[in-house]
Amino acid sequence: MTDPMRIRAQVAGDKATVRVLMAHEMETGQRKDAAGKVIPAWFIQEVSATHNGKPVLSAQWGPSISKNPFMQFSLKGAKVGDKIAITWVDNKGEKRTDEATAS
């Protein structure tokens, strides 16, 4: 079970500021639980963005990205109504894609 992302793409001039929030634990694998057992690493490893279906950005993350990750970037040539989709894949192979319309 994964929870939806929040994606905002705001157009200003000839580009859009894209802000993404992802719901994820981003567990480092360095922490221990109350019983002293190591909590296994669980984090997003890959993130990609598409603009109207065309890949525009890819990223790889380690476990030191904060819990419930935030990412912001500027997309050139984006217009109101364009579709921005974000996909993440974590180290357990879980995957999620959400899409937003630029406004």
């Binding site: 790889q60 380690g62 990205i65 970037f73 357990k92």
Partner: protein, 155 residues
């Protein structure tokens, strides 16, 4: 995106990593092609750059790192990396004193500005680095110190 040398070292590392978390081999195969776990396990910037097949970074005012001087909590520290140069292939964010230095690696296409921000964990006060790897092989960096303080009642 990757040289053959990286792919080889990656797949071994990722396979080991995935085996450790008990994942099926076919999954390991699917992910091995891209995720550079050697770079993300490197203890320091030099080793991370080696794992990425990149040159030793040179300080440059064309690269900027945005971060607060002081963070009330190391669990969430906003950090941005930007390069005022054309031909940026990769933008990296590293935290010097974290157990593994490399936090994020972005590969922007021409449609995305080389100015990306995210939020990282800092185990303690540390330098944070922004590194830009250019298409021509140049590797430039900027750094900033972030002080992590103890907020609240500490209980």
């Amino acid at each position: 995106m990757h040289t053959r040398r990286h792919m080889l070292s990656d797949s071994a590392k990722v396979a080991a990593l995935l085996a450790a978390v008990g994942l099926a081999p076919q999954l390991a195969k699917a992910q091995a092609a891209s995720y550079n776990s050697a770079a993300f396990e490197a203890k320091n910037m030099a080793d991370a750059m080696k794992a990425l097949g990149a040159a030793v970074p040179v300080a440059s005012k064309d690269v900027t790192v945005t971060a607060p001087d002081i963070a009330e909590n190391g669990a969430v520290v906003p950090v941005g990396a930007a390069a005022a140069l054309p031909g940026v292939k990769r933008l990296l964010i590293l935290v010097e004193k974290n157990p593994a230095a490399l936090a994020a690696m972005f590969e922007p296409s021409d449609a995305v500005e080389a100015n990306i921000s995210t939020r990282v964990k800092l185990g303690q006060s540390s330098n944070v680095f922004a590194v830009a790897i250019l298409n021509d092989g140049k590797v430039l960096f900027a750094q900033k110190e972030v002080k992590v303080t103890l907020g609240g009642c500490g209980g």
